[in-house]
Symmetry: C2
Subunit: 770 residues, 2 copies
């Protein structure tokens, strides 16, 4: 309850009341599990604070210039490797998709040329089903954490939520292979999201020196032993992933910073930029290699770059109203997309809960459904005669192209098939291309739009690596063309440009990032003159979308139960104090503690940090010394750094340990557990001096601190524990610990239900604007 | 001294020793004045913390949805106005410069066509001198704060340093007019820096509702009453300024975030983006208006946009070595530029200290020197015959163009004059233009490079608004051409592209921002295909430059004495505790304090914040209640919210005040002073209850907290005061206050001189890399 010291005459008695007394035994009741990929997992938090204890300080003092130089060199070397590997993966991904999907389309097209339609359908249908089945099976059986785009999980990780298994070697391999096969199977899913996750995964694995589980570790790579440095690498990896997916290095860096990272430093921007530059330069070199035709069906369309507008585009103030309209409708459609997607994901969760076989079956059903629609729908439109002087061969020979023959007689093409019976990249290119105002019929584009809108919603939740960027772009582009066609001669802009702006508006309405999307679209279209229009359309669609719901990644994170801490402090947090939400019971240790007590506490609680308190005779009065982490206690127990008498240790005991012993282990599942440590009865009666190992500079807040300010501190510095100290002396020197869950709205509103009615439904709209 | 509790047997006695006892009377000895513009001024800090007291909380609770909506609406409306005004200023600035300088060049060219060279020189010389004299005089007499680029001052402001007078209406007007005249006077200075300052100034003035001093205030604009909201507006204003200067909206936003802002929020990115979009769209509209020739001599060159590379550029892996070389030399040249500039500025300071007349004289000397060089140097080169089929008229008719006639016979042109005898924008366009490999002689470009390098160094420090971007670009472009010429046929890239890359490398070597510069150059050249090359060159030149010295803005900030707090924590801060640096004596107030004591303390100290301590009988033991600000105390004294007896006030006293009374006043010089408040003897013996007005949630650190962690908190949350509480109970509940100056290296190293020798000279290099 809000403390109001001055409202009545009881102020003195109120001031003397320990604020926490009434709540000391309330246990945090919010769920600490979340859906990661398609499985439910327990969630731990990450700790971005520097643990400053005597041991670490001694280690720092010992470090010479050579070691500092090595540290810096390794940071940059790792970024270089991340860029290189991500670029290779991205290139191979594209190469594989273009060839797999390409062969499929060439074979079916050839059969249709021979008018063997049923056989063509069967080949198309079966190859899609097999590819989907493969992707779904490896994902469901080997690495369920590879499901979906992975961006929400990485975003939550960068906020401090450690979803288990998202950065393992299995996840990485399944993500790459699963993404290739799933995208090749003509499901309406993207490869950008999986590429971002892949990049993050590569960064995390390199940062921890390889995979521990499979012994694939290199000692010299194991240099970064804390969450802080790993987080930086993962931001670089995400930037590299986005850069490789869209060949958009600046956009990738901006996306990692705007859309993914919770914190930001100028130095980090530079490192992410370096990683993206490596990707851009190597991609350029590999495309140079492929230009000579040595990459199979990997042609110009291999790496997305719709330089559809390299010539100058002219537009004037009179074009503003239609663009404004496009933005508004894009915002509405985007938020509708988010809404339906969240509902569908909830339904899919019921299916997924039933077991692995149901997950795979669901994927197969979606694949069958998709194949039938893709093959069936083009029959609904009539064939169109080829234009008299086509810029490309008509009908298209080979795989991609704007004039697909499909079932049509010679010198005719099926405009809907040109969009549908193609990879998504080619569909986008066709929609974006200029001077094609008469190439597509309104009905075809409309059918395509409806198809994409719903297929992308229903395809995302299947148990396979699936991104959202490409589906959203293709849907948005078709919607933009529709608007262009409806406006007809009332607008001077051509329909290809409308498609670009439509894609921007739909992206803005769904993803709600602005600057990064703007730069990505500019890099895709390679025309900076479009900038003012794209900026405007993104701005409007984001504003309109925010009026209805949150961005798609936040919705998915919330649906998965990942405890993401946003920047915005809800209004009620200003009326509450820290004492109003902190829960107990609190487990503390003495500065020199009995081994038996430590073992008992570690066995009976799952807490990760324990305040260390010096009590008489060590100090005159009980006083907070610092906080010790569970991992460090386990290391002490394992190395048996015990004392027979409760006296302070000398620094000689440090020789028992290396800095690595206190380093944070990688996010592998092979961690030390208290159950693995066997101690004799004698050892159990000995003591440990915790002083040299406890973090002696923990951040503290007074119990009367407002919750909003404590949250600003907690989030701003990326803490895992925030100690609450009493306002009045004479009580225990620490009265509680705040962790991530204590700040979640569910927890706070659970403790103070009367606040719920004070929350306006529309406040989110204001809060995102503010 | 570093506390080492465990190294010896004295640990217990050490633990009982109050850490601060030995230093309680040391006064902070670092200078609290800095050079702002060309004058020395006292410096105050800004407070980005939300002051949460009972009064403010009550005010928040009272606010309805309408007021929240109004708040958000005003934020966006102000951004809209900032964008609009900055765009207008930027456009008028360009229009005026193009016409002023244009007329000058047309008149002199016509005289030279009639071979009246002496008269031409006199016209050129006198017009330059008059323009410079005008700019220098208004700057020196009306607003010395308008001197220089203004970027360092704005950057320091965003870090929390309140340099007085940088955002007044005089500064704004002088900055605009001074920049126009100074740039027109052919001094080698830029308009981008002044535009950024102008944008920030417009934002600050709009944010505080106009200029208080001249009564130009609007009540409805006075909505943002704290440093936090003003900081956000100023970031948007800086972004708009950069966007208007280079017609580079995305680059402008990134520059504001990478180069200027110390903190960053996703919501802020969006608002800055909106402001830049307004600028971009309006600029587009205004250029549309000018295309019909209604803007005098304002032609295509009016707003910088060197779309020299709209066609596709091809480059391959073999081009990497020369580009690498370009980056290395650019980094060396850039750091050399920074070094010489800082030395020259120091010499100029001696001149400036002598008085206003000397400042103006210095500007005139530089102008005379520049005029002579610009007019004299082209005579050194021989005339070149016009190419057989020139793309432009040869020799150039009218003002700008690549084939300047100068003293040459007909059908000949002077290539050095094409570079020198032009506005800087035109010189850059000429250097950037492609297919001009044979147009310039090596000797001419070399002379031009040397001229630009030194003129830009000597011109920056004069008492006039002067930016660094354009001089650095023009110098870098000429150096790039030189490298291109030296490589000759060994490289497939054309010389114009070398000029672009040279400009990028010199910018990177001097300014050391990466992503924003990359985007700005891309927006200037309008060719995204250059991206990998520009990224590489920027990366290399920044790395090389960082090996030698800091970036130019940090050097200028340091030379001016602005106490900027960087993100990087020096290594020694980890070995020191807060108790090692905090200084006294500490001034505190009781929860209910005598008026006489408050008046005495305010008169005798200049402190801005005072801890409020509840002592018996209000509480059982002395306990820290919060912190009260000087401004708020003055408001209480002025409104005479006094009590005759020392008892707690009721909330009725709140009716005496409005929220505005406790709002932070604008950065005008008209602030309330303690000397202005007259109190009777009776009033002096009364009491004030400080509880409702004190910030009850101040951030605190324990005296044993490491300095690095306290700095992370201080900087991360943008604090002005950080309270230090004792580790052991039984002493005063607060033992010190940390402010910005306590964290400055000068102060810390002054207290602990033995740390100086531990600082490696080369550590800066490592630290900027890390």
């Amino acid at each position: 309850m809000p403390s109001s010291h001055f409202s009545n005459g009881d102020s003195e008695s109120l001031l003397r009341l320990p604020l926490l007394s009434s709540q000391r035994s309330i246990v945090n009741s919010t769920s600490q599990v979340a859906i990661v990929g398609s499985n439910v997992s327990p969630i731990e938090s990450l700790d971005y604070e520097v643990c400053e204890n005597e041991f670490v300080k001694l280690d720092w003092r010992r470090r010479g210039k050579a070691q500092i130089f090595q540290f810096i060199f390794m940071k940059w070397l790792l970024c270089f490797f991340i860029g290189m590997i991500v670029c290779l993966v991205g290139f191979c991904n594209n190469l594989a998709v273009e060839n797999l999907a390409g062969i499929k389309f060439v074979v079916t097209s050839n059969m249709m040329l021979e008018r063997r339609f049923l056989l063509a359908f069967l080949v198309f249908f079966i190859s899609n089903l097999v590819l989907t089945l493969f992707a779904a099976t490896i994902t469901a059986l080997i690495a369920p954490t590879a499901t979906g785009s992975g961006i929400p999980e990485v975003k939550a990780y960068l906020n401090g939520v450690d979803a288990p298994g998202i950065f393992t070697i299995q996840t990485l391999i399944v993500k790459i292979i699963g993404s290739i096969t799933a995208v090749s199977s003509s499901l309406l899913i993207g490869k950008a999201g999986p590429m971002v996750h892949t990049g993050a995964c590569v960064a995390a694995l390199l940062g921890q020196g390889g995979s521990k589980r499979y012994g694939l570790t290199w000692k010299w790579l194991q240099f970064f032993k804390n969450d802080r440095d790993r987080r930086d690498l993962i931001i670089c990896g995400s930037a590299a992933g986005m850069a490789a997916a869209f060949r958009a290095p600046v956009g990738g860096v901006l996306f990692a910073l705007e859309g993914m990272a919770s914190g930001w430093r100028s130095a980090l921007l530079w490192r992410a930029f370096f990683t993206a530059a490596i990707v851009a330069i190597l991609l350029r070199a590999m495309i140079d290699l492929c230009l000579s035709g040595r990459c199979g069906l990997f042609g110009k369309g291999g790496l997305i770059m719709f330089d559809a507008y390299s010539a100058s585009v002219s537009y004037h103030l009179t074009d503003v109203p239609p663009v404004f309209l496009l933005g508004v409708i894009g915002g509405i459609l985007g938020s509708l997309f988010n809404l339906i997607l969240s509902k569908v994901l909830r339904i899919y969760n019921f299916v997924n809960e039933k077991g692995t076989i149901f997950k795979i079956l669901l994927a197969c059903v979606i694949s069958i459904f998709t194949s039938c629609l893709l093959f069936g729908l083009p029959w609904l439109t009539s064939c169109r005669p080829c234009p008299p002087d086509p810029t490309e061969p008509c009908p298209t020979i080979g795989r991609s192209g704007i004039y697909k023959k499909f079932q049509c007689p010679s010198n005719h093409y099926n405009d809907l098939a040109s969009l549908i019976f193609n990879t998504n990249d080619d569909a986008i290119r066709n929609l974006f291309s200029k001077n094609t105002d008469d190439e597509f019929e309104f009905r075809s584009v409309f059918i395509f739009f409806i198809l994409c809108f719903f297929l992308s919603i229903f395809s995302y939740g299947v148990v396979a690596p699936a991104g959202l960027f490409v589906p959203v772009i293709v849907t948005g582009a078709s919607y933009g063309r529709i608007v262009g066609m409806l406006l007809g001669k009332n607008s001077s802009l051509n329909h290809g440009l409308y498609a670009v702006l439509g894609a921007a508006s739909f992206l803005g309405g769904s993803m709600r990032t602005t600057v990064s999307l703007c730069v990505i679209i500019l890099e895709l279209t390679n025309n900076l003159l479009l900038l003012p229009l794209i900026m405007m359309v993104l701005f409007i669609s984001k504003t309109v979308g925010d009026a209805f719901n949150a961005n798609i990644y936040d919705i998915i994170m919330k649906a998965k139960g990942l405890p993401y801490l946003g920047t915005h402090a809800e209004l009620y947090t200003r009326q509450l104090t820290v004492g109003d939400v902190v829960t107990g019971p609190l487990q503390t240790f003495n500065g020199i503690e009995k081994v038996r007590n430590i073992v008992f506490t570690l066995k009976t609680t799952g807490h990760n940090g324990f305040p260390v308190i010096d009590e008489p005779p060590i100090s005159e009065a009980p006083v907070l010394f610092g906080i010790i982490l569970r991992d460090h206690l386990l290391t002490l127990l394992k190395n048996k750094a015990f004392l027979s008498l409760p006296i302070a240790t000398s620094t000689e005991v440090f020789s028992k340990f290396s800095a690595d012993d206190f380093a944070k282990k990688g996010s592998s599942r092979v961690t030390l557990k208290i159950e693995d440590i066997q101690l004799s009865d004698e050892e159990m009666d000995m003591f440990i001096d915790l002083h040299p190992y406890a973090n002696a500079s923990p951040y503290t807040v007074v119990e009367t601190m407002s919750l909003a300010k404590a949250l600003a501190l907690f989030r701003g510095l990326g803490l895992r524990h925030l100690l609450v100290v009493p306002k009045f002396p004479g009580r225990s020197p620490v009265v509680g610990i705040l962790t991530r869950h204590d700040f979640t709205p569910e927890h706070v509103l659970g403790l103070h239900p009367f606040l719920v009615r004070n929350r306006g439904n529309k406040l989110r709209f204001f809060s995102t604007l503010a």
